[in-house]
Amino acid sequence: MAHSTTAAPSGSSQGESRRDFLLIATSAVGAVGTALAVWPFVHSMNPAADTLALSTTEVDLSKVAEGMAITVTWQGKPVFVRHRTADEIKSAEEAPLSDLREPTPDKDRVQKPEWLILVGICTHLGCIPMGQKASDPRGDFGGWFCPCHGSHYDTSGRIRKGPAPLNLVVPKYTFLTDSQIRIG
């Protein structure tokens, strides 16, 4: 092109590179524009504003006797509130960290040792583990047992055995009074 020996009209090489530039620039703008246009479609499937609006749940602890547990709903999810016995606290605190899959000491998972607050969703595939009712199986470590694929959680809600990769999640919560918490 630039070295063309035929009598090309002067400026043709320049013209072609200008065309190339225009072609590439237009294509680039078109591609970016298309990509941007996809976003509203994708994002429309993310949680809507009303779903996102942070909901909180308040729980009265005074009716939960030692050794008992209740399940409350927070953002459509079950939350376990367990009033732990001295034995349960002891076994949670004494479990050697080297035995844990996601090593977290018990004191980092509670604000007051007797109250254990957890999102009651198995970190494997989302079932609700058993262990809230006195008649439920609690697994090999005295906490919770997920019947779906056999995950065992200890009295701190930490994963000890089975396919789940992580500990049960501790949600954000605050003590409003000694016997009242707000989750969220």
Binding site: V42, P47, T73, Q75, C127, I128, P147, C148, P163
Partner: protein, 405 residues
């Protein structure tokens, strides 16, 4: 494609403007079909028949179904009790899904035995696998619609599979749900997609048939068509044979619809969804059980998910994994035994998938998972090199005449 001569003036007039009749003619009357197809070749047309049943019943069900968590369960019960013939339409749709999968599974194993995936039919095979994947997605989302306990917990467990993806897993799951748990936004989008995907399947079936009519049907001998003596016209010979198959299919299918409509279902799905109580034993629909068994055989979350998806994806490579030049299992004395072993292995996986993950079920499931991959990734490539196939007949026609003699 030379246009056939039409006598009828109107047909001729239309065909010159849009070649509908030429296409029809090429894919029926003048479509040369091997003359030795056995009954295993019926299941493709049966699968198409099942798809038509699903779309027809689905559209009328959708006229009475409500895609909202507070009303979905009751709207399905209303279909069952109050809507005229609603019970029939729903039972046709419910059992139709199972029979669709039965046909497709027979169709796939037919392909595995007769080497239907080998050149020049690789893309035909891929399109079939894409149809299969789309069917699994469609049936999964359909099962969520009645919003019973199994609907809800099945949806929860399956969508949570994506949380195994490193880093972005939780974002994907939230995006799939449109919230922080399976809830109304999830049900709504599943209904939308459940309506859409069958039509995507229809388009894929169309492409599947275009590929079929390009490479032509295979046949039990695995030898290609060599001349007109090997073929007969599709219409009327195979149209009538396929119709006969439809008759037998309907006999069995309607038997279930009328006399055992809940045979394939789970009683727990007649309990309304309760996000606060997980049923003690979650089982997916029977057609997913082998893959569910593979998922649970691997004691690691991400590993299990990879193995499960891998079990299907590996089938895309089958045309290259099976190194044998001989197509049909009929002429492969060793392959034949491995084929039946593989089929048995899939049944074992299906059985394990329906059992709780405990005790002896765990090692059996792991052994069966191992064999599934071992067969496809090691046995097939080696067999093609080591096995000595039987002598092939000279032609399709010769193979048929020899059988008769």
């Amino acid at each position: 494609m030379s246009a056939p001569a039409f006598n009828n003036k109107i047909i001729k007039w239309i065909d010159e403007r849009i070649p509908l009749f030429t296409v029809l003619d090429h894919s029926t009357s003048s479509y040369p079909t091997p003359k030795n197809l056995n009954y295993w070749w019926n299941f493709g047309s049966l699968a198409l028949f099942a798809l038509v049943i699903m779309i027809m019943t689905g559209i009328v069900l959708a006229m009475n179904y409500t895609g909202h968590t507070s009303m979905a369960f009751d709207s399905v019960e209303r279909i069952m009790r109050d809507v005229n013939y609603g019970w029939l339409l729903r039972y046709l749709h419910m059992n139709g899904a199972s029979f669709f999968f039965i046909c497709v599974y027979v169709h796939i194993f037919r392909g595995l035995y007769y080497g239907s995936y080998k050149a020049p039919r690789e893309i035909l095979w891929w399109l079939g696998l894409l149809i299969y994947l789309a069917m699994m997605a469609t049936a999964f989302m359909g099962y969520v619609l009645p919003w019973g306990q199994m609907s809800f917990w099945g949806a929860t467990v399956i969508t949570n599979l994506f949380s195994a993806v490193p880093v972005v897993g939780n974002f994907i799951v939230t995006w799939l749900w449109g919230g922080f748990a399976v809830d109304n936004p999830t049900l709504n989008r599943f209904f939308s997609l459940h309506y859409l995907l069958p039509f995507v399947i229809f388009a894929l079936v169309f492409l599947h048939l275009v590929a079929l009519h390009t490479s032509k049907s295979g046949n039990p001998s695995g030898i290609e068509i060599k001349g007109p003596q090997d073929t007969i016209m599709f219409h009327p010979y195979y149209t009538i044979k396929d119709l006969y198959g439809v008759g037998v299919f309907l006999l069995v299918f309607m038997g279930f619809v009328f006399f055992a409509p809940n045979f394939f279902g789970e009683p727990d799905n007649y309990i309304p969804a309760n996000p606060m109580v997980t049923p003690p034993h979650i089982v997916p629909e029977w057609y997913y059980l082998p893959f569910y068994a593979i998922l649970r055989a691997i004691p690691d979350k991400l590993g299990g998910v990879i193995a499960m998806f891998g079990a299907i994806l590996v089938l895309f490579a089958l045309p290259w994994l099976d190194s044998s030049k001989v197509r049909s299992g009929r002429f492969r004395p060793v392959f034949k035994w491995f084929f039946w072993l593989f089929l048995a292995d899939c049944f074992v996986l299906g059985w394990i998938g329906g059992k709780p993950a405990e005790g002896n079920y765990i090692p059996i499931g792991q052994a069966a998972t191992f064999w599934y991959f071992f067969h496809l990734l090691v046995v097939l490539p080696l067999l093609g090199r080591l096995e000595k196939p039987l002598a092939l007949p000279a032609s399709i026609s010769a193979s048929v005449l020899k059988e008769k003699a």
